[in-house]
């Protein structure tokens, strides 16, 4: 009797599970995922909360503000853009979960502006971005590994690579700071190692070289760095890390009255993050940094002026580098969608990026490198000097643009003139 009841129960459970499986069905296929006659759905993962969020959490809203502006002016061939933002707290595992939601649940057409090297490396592998053929436009990371068309066939970066940045800094040191004792502090992962390789190739040798493991850095750790740098007599210190590590380094140095010529990598010199971490922005005074965009306070720049107007009307956030970057990603996204044509497909968008991407209007001074063989965005920097408010001006008074590649190509001074901002900030390209 007991055996009979148990068997009955087993079969009941099996039948129940089987029927649940049979009833569950996949969603019907449509013309192109995330595109309807009236809407284009795009997705972004970024840190909206957590330690890395100050500044970065403004990018999504800035993009959204620009898309609202475009939507109110007719959208992209009549389709309105919807941007879905997901908070990944800058952690790779959350990035994976949230990107899964974007692609499998929200069914976005493409990813735009996802942030972080480790995050996107993990997402690309885990979610299978290339295999699913999901376009991932304007990755906000400078890791030169993403420059591989073979490994990342549907992804396109926007920032110059860390290798390019290091090569340009190396050239600058050779031209302007020869004979000085050099120090280097770098994050010991793809980010810093990318730079380290480029410095080696450029023949720049550091008298003191300090690697550190990524993560939150304490004042005590920074103290050991400063002691090593000071003991080695470093007169110029190059820093390749994130701002949360720059903060204790500069704060401890200021307290110890150690004042070398700082050269801070582009991602490690954000005044807003420094302020959020309780470090006075004044410590940045006189620091050099490679920069791609004009200062967000430069209202004589046509891009900055237009974006500031859009920000005032649709976003109302303090206009800084992050808002500028977010709006610019919006501008480039709209150009890419237009270039892909009225019959919008994922494959068409990737083709458009490859064939027309290099001619897009963008706020950054350097040329865009998109082509059939390259998925690299901007390819150069100018050196800027920061003031006590964290604002930057071109070193020497005017922009001297250097361009290069992530490999062994030379660093050259460039006379490139970026395309003009489209009238009223609304692209009309096709």
């Amino acid at each position: 009797m007991i055996r009979k009841t148990a068997r009955k129960r087993t079969w009941f459970v099996a039948a129940l599970l089987a029927s649940a499986g049979l009833f569950a069905s996949t969603l019907p296929a449509n013309a192109e995922t995330g595109v309807s006659s009236s809407e284009i759905k795009l997705g972004i993962t970024l840190p909206l909360t957590g330690a890395a969020s100050p500044g970065y959490n403004k990018i999504g809203n800035a993009m959204n503000a620009y898309f609202k502006y475009v939507n109110e002016n007719g959208g992209v061939y009549g389709r309105k853009i919807t941007l879905i933002q997901k908070n990944d707290e800058y952690s790779p595992q959350l990035s994976i979960a949230k990107t899964n939601e974007l692609i499998l649940k929200d069914k976005v057409f493409a990813l735009v502006g996802p942030l972080g090297t480790a995050n996107f490396t993990a997402v690309h592998k885990s979610v299978g971005i290339a295999k699913r053929k999901v376009p991932s436009l304007f990755l906000n990371t400078g890791f030169s590994g993403f420059a591989s068309k073979k490994n990342y066939p549907t992804s396109f970066t926007i920032l110059p690579s860390y290798a390019m940045e290091a090569k340009i800094v190396a050239q600058f040191i050779k031209e302007n700071l020869t004979g000085k004792k050099l120090g280097l502090v770098y994050q010991n992962d793809e980010f810093g190692i990318d730079a380290l390789g480029a410095f080696k190739d450029a023949g720049v040798k550091f008298d003191v070289s300090i690697p550190y493991t990524s993560g939150t850095q304490s004042a005590a750790t920074a103290q050991t760095w400063v002691s090593q740098l000071a003991a080695g007599g470093a007169q110029v210190v190059v820093f390749f890390g994130v701002t949360s590590a720059t903060a204790p380094l500069l704060a401890v140095s200021a307290a110890a009255k150690y004042a070398p010529q700082w050269i801070l990598g582009s991602v490690g010199s954000d005044p807003l993050t420094l302020r959020a971490l309780g470090v006075p922005v004044a410590v940045l005074n006189g620091a050099l940094t490679p920069a791609g965009n004009p200062s967000p306070n430069d209202t004589s720049d046509e891009y900055v002026k237009q974006f500031q107007e859009i920000n005032a009307k649709y976003n109302n956030a303090d206009f800084d580098d992050y808002v500028l970057q977010g709006m610019n990603i919006g501008l480039m996204t709209v150009q890419a969608l237009r270039a892909a044509g009225r019959n919008l497909t994922r494959a068409g968008l990737i083709r458009a990026m490859e064939s027309k991407g290099s001619s897009f209007a963008s706020v950054a001074y350097s040329p865009l490198g998109y082509s059939k063989t390259s998925n690299v965005g901007h390819t150069g920097y100018y050196m800027a000097v920061m003031d006590a408010k964290g604002d930057r001006k071109p070193y020497g008074g005017s922009v001297v643009l250097y361009t290069t590649d992530s490999a062994k190509g030379p660093v050259v001074k460039s006379n490139f003139k970026r395309p003009a901002m489209p009238a009223k900030g609304l692209p009309t390209n096709s």
Partner: protein, 323 residues
């Protein structure tokens, strides 16, 4: 025994059919459910049977995850070997912890394991070979080509995770219904009485910690496979708490309940998402709602169903039968 084997084969077959019929997001969630099932089984064994409270199962999962990832990355071994190493590393670690834990009980044990859950994953930040905060990629490779072009990566994860979960549950259920399970229950019920009956309670507690950690380590490796990554943030304190909640909801001493507990843990973010969507300002709410739901569920179940809803249902059924 034959009946049990048959049940697991049927379950496997049903999972195979279900995996073929549902969309990819559900397949991915299915792999997560399988992972949580193994993790919750480790808590049921440790807390439900041997009576030792551990808040550090997330840390044990981290040991397993890192062991598997380091094996896979550095030795380029087959996947099964990486999982085996996860089990071995976590059980060794569990044995060490068990030796210390056998001297502790109640809140002291909970406190020690809690400290472990906080501290252990953070160690990875200090060592470059553990990948720091970004962690190490865990790449089990693409599914075999003979499964066809349409066979997705997530379906591959689902197959692996479900198979491992079924085997792990089968072994665990046999252990629990054997002399081991009965001895642990005796130690949990009254350690002194068990000692008088000739049971070395410390040794049995250490054994429970070892086997439970092996299961947690295996779950950690499956977790790493599902997200293709091991990173300190993945094995957070929140994970340890979620596991305890899942185990309480499953019925702390009920092995069949673990699948239900796992299902709830995977469903919580979905429910939070839907709730946040209705309440407006989804972005902000979404950050905090899952944690809130986990906490509320834990408090409610401790008050109303301390041994899990399964236990209450069983009692209700017995009452009805008695009438």
């Amino acid at each position: 025994m034959r009946k049990k084997i048959l049940l697991f084969i049927v379950l496997g077959w049903v999972l195979l059919i279900v995996g073929d019929r549902v969309d990819e997001l559900r397949v991915y969630q299915g792999a997560q459910i399988a992972m949580y099932t193994i993790a919750l089984a480790s808590i049921v064994l440790l807390t439900g049977y041997s009576g030792q409270v551990s808040l550090g199962n997330g840390a044990m999962m981290a040991v397993g995850g890192y062991a598997a990832a380091l094996t896979l990355t550095n030795l380029q071994t087959p996947i099964w070997f990486a999982f085996l190493m996860a089990v071995i590393a976590a059980s060794l670690f569990g044995a060490l912890l068990g030796a210390a834990a056998a001297r502790l009980s109640g809140p002291y044990l909970a406190g020690t394991t809690l400290a472990l859950a906080v501290g252990l994953p953070a160690i990875a930040n200090q060592f470059t070979f553990l990948g720091g905060e970004p962690g190490i990629l865990f790449d089990v490779g693409f599914p075999p080509e003979r499964l066809g072009e349409d066979f997705t990566q997530y379906k591959w994860f689902f197959w692996i995770a479900s198979s491992i979960a079924l085997v792990a549950l089968f072994i665990t259920s046999n252990i629990l219904s054997s002399r081991f399970g009965r001895t642990w229950q005796a130690v949990r019920g009254n350690a002194l009485a068990a000692e008088l009956a000739g049971v070395n309670s410390s040794r049995w507690k250490i054994l429970a910690f070892t086997i439970s950690s092996a299961l947690a380590g295996l779950a950690g490796a499956v977790f790493a496979m599902n997200i293709s990554l091991v990173a300190p943030g993945a094995y957070s304190l929140a994970l340890s708490f979620a596991l305890v909640t899942g185990a309480v909801l499953a019925g702390i001493s009920s092995l069949p309940g673990v699948a239900f507990g796992a299902l709830i843990l995977v469903a919580i973010p979905e429910v939070a998402d839907a709730l946040a969507g209705r309440l407006g300002d989804a972005d902000k709410l979404n950050n905090y709602l899952p944690g809130l739901i986990v906490s509320v569920l834990l408090i409610l179940s401790v008050i109303y169903t301390p041994n899990g809803p399964g236990e209450n249902l069983r009692k209700l059924r017995h009452k009805r039968k008695a009438h």
